[in-house]
Amino acid sequence: MGRQATRVTVNGKSYARVVDARLTLADFLRHELNLTGTHLGCEHGVCGACTVLVDGRSARACLMFAVQANGCEVTTVEGLAPEGQLSVLQQAFIDNHGLQCGFCTPGMLMTLTEFLRDTPNPSEDEVREALTGNLCRCTGYAGIVAAALDAAQKLRAGAAKPGAS
């Protein structure tokens, strides 16, 4: 099995590892780095639970190999806020009942973090469109949409806590 050196910055910390070329980025994050917040729901790129940011753009960690992230900056759900704090979006998920089992939540948060960064004043329809790459079986999406709109409003109002994204 081909092994390859790879260097990835994850949540601001640099990691150098020699890994199997076929190791997915998701398994690398989960099992090599023990960042288990990134979840796997389908491993074929539909459910979006494994969504992470690679150089600031959302990507399916199940459809990328770890070695493809060589030289990249990866952000996972664990990197959305400093330890012990929550981002405005994370808090909005709690306030608006944006999660039930919480399994799809990390992917939702990553997708919406990118979306709200690029679209600070979205309509409800735009939020829903942005979420079509993430499946949730529990919530019926209402709380997630409400959380996104709530977070957008708070971020616009500049109510972000220090360090929140």
Binding site: F103, E129, Y141
Partner: protein, 783 residues
Amino acid sequence: MGARHFGARVTRLEDPALVAGHGRFVDDVKLPGLLHACFVRSPHAHAKLRGCDARTALAMAGVHAVLTADDLPEPMRATPLPLLLPNPALTVARTQTALARDEVCYVGQAIAVVIADTRYIAEDAAAAVIVNYDVLPAIADCRAAAEEGGPSAHSDLKSNIASTFTLTYGDVDAALESADYVFHEALWQHRGGGMAIETRAVLAHHDPVSDLLTVWSGTQTPHIGRRMLADLIGRDLESIRMIAPDVGGGFGPKAIFYPEEAVIPAAALKVGRPVKWVEDRREHFLCATQERDQYWDVGIAVDKEGKILGIRGRMVHDTGAYVPWGIVMPYIAATTVPGPYVVPSYQLETVVVLTNKVPTTPVRGAGRPQAVFCMERLLDRVAHELKIDRAEVRHRNLIQPEQMPYEVGLIFRDGKPLVYDSGDYPRGHHQALMVAEYDDFRERQKAALAQGRFVGIGVANYVEGTGLGPFEGVTVRVLPSGKVAVATGATSQGQGTRTTLTQIVAEQIGCRIEDVVMTIGDTAAISQGVGAFASRQAVNAGSSAHVAGVAVRKQLLALAARALGVIDADIDLEDGVATSRRGNKPSISFGDLARLAQGIPGVSLPVGQSAGIEHTAYYTPTQAAYCSGTHVAEVQVDAMTGGVKILRYTVAHDSGRVINPLIVDGQVQGGVAHGIGNALLEWMQYDDNAQPLTTSFADYMLPMATDVPTCAIAHVETVNPLNPLGVKGAGEGGTIPAPAAIVAAIEDALTPFGVHFAETPLTPERIVATLRSAGAYDRLFAG
């Protein structure tokens, strides 16, 4: 009194860890020396096994073992998995063995398991295991399977019929013969799978020092799972601990005890190292239980006013290759048809048929969506034929509140007469129509039609037996730290069980919510447990939490009275402190009371005082708790593409007293989403050889954020008189009537073309095909 917790819109205690990525799901558990499993599964729907050659696989680097049925311990090796819900009407009570021995009867049935250093290697090796098959004819369609002369789902069975039973009351034959009108419907409903976003997962670890076998499983029922595993593996219950940690959605299929939950612990014992298996999505499509097809042929007898006189019919239920949960689902379906309506006579013959597909067991709704679809389609037909408004037909037939408790005339699945404990169906119906602005709809429809838009409205009612027994337990224990430990056999797959039970306990004993330390889904925490299914936990565990809380409150008051030198009645319990209302209001903390309750070594406790501050309650409901509701769907149909957009969706829901409106609204909204999937999207398809065709989320459609509107939800609270909290279940009501309401709305939208729909899922291609047969396109293109 301190802050009211019961009934408050408390944000969930589960959430902070989950949004931070600090949840702990089975696949997140790491143990030293952990090995990984991959199953070798049948590619055939039906075949005889003619040996297995694992030499190549075993020679691969990193492979530790390849186990087949003969490598499993006794009695698991040859004993079928236990039948959880026996029933005298079940004539073929067949369940599968943990690994197939002689014959496989559905695609995906497990034959062997590979244990290796990594999941990657295990998958490589599983592909290298050679299994020899003699392929047998397979039966896919349950209607064909019910006929004589076709292929048998199991080679030793002459008939594929696992059960036939007839439920009846009243003189239905007379009703159908003498009625003013009798209308017949032939209906097909399909439910699809649970499709939790977290797939199933099992991790087993045997500690040779303590001889404890610990099993983490993404299950809804760890106590039941432990019991089944103990039987299969020949160990005492006390030497097995089963833990359901964070579980990423359940929806029914995770309530089943699966072969993997037996095989992975056996493998861990065999190789002497921890072993983990995580189902992949394709395996979930192949091997996790589903609901599937029911075919109904039913007739309804009504008088000239549209009042129901009787319903008679036959239903064929596809149970798949085995019956792990017996006939519970078709039985629930058969008893749910009358619903909130006065149905003077009723008869349904149900035929449960084996096919070569993965077994069916309850998925959110559990047979009820089909029954409600049947009833509501019949009522829509009556409304259409007699030219009565659809809501009015329902209104005329609803059971009135003064008729409560209402005895339907059937025996429900809890073994008790089907008696609705409480409810105000006309109020719920009326409220839903008000919120949905039903009375103005025809104006909206007319205006839309003038713009070339086809919009329609559908109404559906249901009654659901929730809160089923046998029991659930809660232990409440005040710790010397002042924290309150709560343990329960209830489990959580996202329902917020921890939050609601905490609210109930905090309400009773007067502690702060943040001081409750909850253990859920761990057999080590409480001796008896059942788990999550049948919307049962608020009723069962909630009542137990209440009873245990009341008992601990009494203990706290007695101890504090003694410590503070006052009587119980003069003490307030608030925020974890007992305070006297007398004198200078002396107080003592719960922590100090817990220390007092430990007594002094060697010294007798005062009379009447028990050890510690602790109580365990097991609430045992006398019968189901019947919740109810009304759904109104308003849709727009694109006649050219068959696309359906749900414009607004209204729910009036009676789940008794609401413990936490945030959570109940979430359950309703999420349930509706599942119902939308059932109505429009989700179809687990098989070919004629019972080969699954939809085994990815690219082929099997789940509702997306653009498919599910935010519902308008109205709560109609009628107190359940049978449990101390007055609650009823809330987990499935959102799903149950949704397909009926949505399909009715689609039909209503397409009234100009005179089409009729009698099936779910109603996919765009089915809508287009129906419109085409009705000549709709000739008219549309001509116009």
